[in-house]
């Protein structure tokens, strides 16, 4: 039974309230469902809605995204993330769901956390502490105030999410990566209890051309790093089976021919990764993003029928 909903007006006040045992709520898309269907494990709910944590700041190649920024607000502000954001739930959920909240949702949700891991983001907390995503050990009661990351150079960002449907479904496998000529960060969702980096896949592609052979080797190598699970969307067996394919597709799309390097042009024509410049210049929110970017999701209305 919830006896109070608090709306602290600063992150520090929110941290104090959380230290007293309240449950923190960001956009509410997960917490309110639990409140509605009960039983609920806290007496107090702490909404961050008035804590002053929304907004996106970009400067000197670095983006700082306030924890309470919704995905609808974020869409269109950082063009390279448009494709990824459009794979997160539905537009109506993205009007509520926040960047900070996404860090706390259980797998196979939380695709944006996978992106942040690949971006080597820094997480900022109330009180001034910060930590790299990759080293973050979650503690109860901590209040995330923002995430910060360097915007990847054009052509170095890759994202692919395999779902049961083309829209509004959880991850079977999510792949997000930043790969430059001499470095590689590859993050995976849907294949472990938390989003993970795959050091084995990173080693397999680091410093190599993104050919079919290299990517196939990376996909096989990644299997050493995962701990997949069964759920209503897919079995652990299936996730393991399809991970190498989807890891390759993150870089080459579905139609790339064997042995061909993932050329800049090839990528752009998949409508998926890396066309940061092009999308940013459209200056539009994701929900109405250019029709050219629809190449990855030529969804049909009756596709939804297969859900049941």
């Amino acid at each position: 039974m919830i006896t109070a909903l608090r709306m602290p007006e600063s992150p520090e006040a929110a941290a104090e309230a959380a230290a007293r045992g309240g449950r923190v709520m960001a956009g509410g898309t997960v917490v309110m469902g639990q409140v509605n269907t009960g039983p609920f494990d806290a007496a107090e709910l702490i909404s961050l809605r008035r804590a002053g944590l929304s907004g996106v700041r970009v400067g000197e190649g670095v983006a700082r995204v306030g924890a309470m920024t919704t995905f609808a607000e974020l869409a269109g502000q950082l063009g390279f993330l448009t494709t990824a954001i459009r794979t997160l739930a539905s537009p109506t959920i993205r009007n509520l769901a926040t960047v900070g909240g996404n860090l706390f949702v259980p797998q196979p949700y939380g695709d944006f956390a996978v992106c942040l891991l690949a971006l080597d983001a820094t997480v900022e907390f109330a009180g001034g502490r910060e930590t790299p995503m990759s080293a973050w050990q979650k503690r109860p009661g901590e209040i995330v105030t923002a995430v910060r990351f360097a915007i990847p150079d054009e052509g170095t960002w890759f994202y692919h999410k395999a779902m049961r449907r083309k829209l509004n479904s959880a991850a079977i496998v999510t792949v997000a990566a930043v790969v430059t000529h001499d470095d590689a960060r590859i993050a995976l969702g849907g294949v472990a209890p938390e989003p993970i980096r795959s050091p084995a896949a990173e080693a397999a592609v680091r410093g190599r051309p993104l050919t079919r052979e290299v990517l196939d080797a990376a996909g096989e190598a990644a299997l050493a790093d995962i701990a997949p699970f069964d759920d209503a969307y897919a079995s652990a067996w299936y996730r393991r089976r399809v991970l190498p394919v989807h890891l390759r597709r993150a870089f080459q799309g579905e139609s790339a021919s064997q042995g061909e390097p993932a050329s800049q042009e090839g990528r752009a024509s998949q409508g998926e990764p890396a066309s940061r410049g092009g999308r940013a210049s459209q200056g539009q929110p994701a929900s109405r993003g250019g029709r050219a970017s629809r190449g990855d999701g030529a969804h049909q209305g009756d596709q939804r029928d297969e859900e049941g």
Binding site: I2, T3, G28, R50, P91, L167, S287, R291, G308
Partner: protein, 184 residues
């Protein structure tokens, strides 16, 4: 557990009521204000039948703690028709047999209203994406998508006709319209 006073503007009318801690906007609409169009479906944001507009944006009202949107402007299906006259989206749903059991209809229409307000001439893909959070368990999506596209066409046609006749953009009630046929 102390209830608190909440103020909202709902369908243009100011409302003041008591809400329990963490009460959802959906519960307030249905149980406090007697507005029954938004339906209680899954109660966890999966089905979309409780979709209403909060400050113009479509959200699932079961996921909004009503105390957190104090002073917001809320629009529900009850606020869409002009008296007895259905608006274009409602009329297109009726004419196109876009309801089967009707349980998803209120949410579908509100999501469509938000889409058409932002994008008066959507493609089919854009309609599909917009309603991707609204489940029709009868699986009548084809008729719903067609009705939303039809409603967009009706609004654009009506706006064009009014322009031709009077040389300025007024609707039947004399209200000024913007270039896309929406009431200002």
């Amino acid at each position: 557990m102390a209830s608190s006073v909440v103020n909202l503007t709902v369908n243009g009318r100011e409302q003041e009521f008591l809400a329990r801690p963490a009460e959802s906007l959906l519960t307030s609409l249905r149980d406090r204000l007697g507005l029954m169009a938004a339906k209680r479906g899954c109660a966890q944001g999966s089905c979309g039948t409780c979709t209403v507009l909060v400050d113009g944006r479509p959200v699932m009202s079961c996921l909004v703690a009503v105390e957190t949107i104090e002073a917001a402007e809320v629009r529900t299906l009850e606020g869409v028709a002009d008296g007895e006259r259905l608006d274009e989206v409602q009329q297109a749903f009726l004419d196109g047999f876009a309801t089967q059991c009707g349980f998803c209809t209120a949410g579908m229409i509100m999501t469509a209203e938000a889409l058409l307000a932002e994008n008066p001439d959507p493609t089919e893909d854009e309609v599909v994406e917009a309603i991707s959070g609204n489940v029709c368990r009868c699986t009548g999506y084809r008729a719903i998508i067609a009705a939303i596209l039809d409603a967009a066409r009706r609004r654009l046609d009506a706006a064009a006709e009014r322009l031709d006749a009077a040389g300025r953009t007024l609707d039947a009630g004399g209200r000024t319209l913007d270039a896309t046929g929406r009431r200002r």
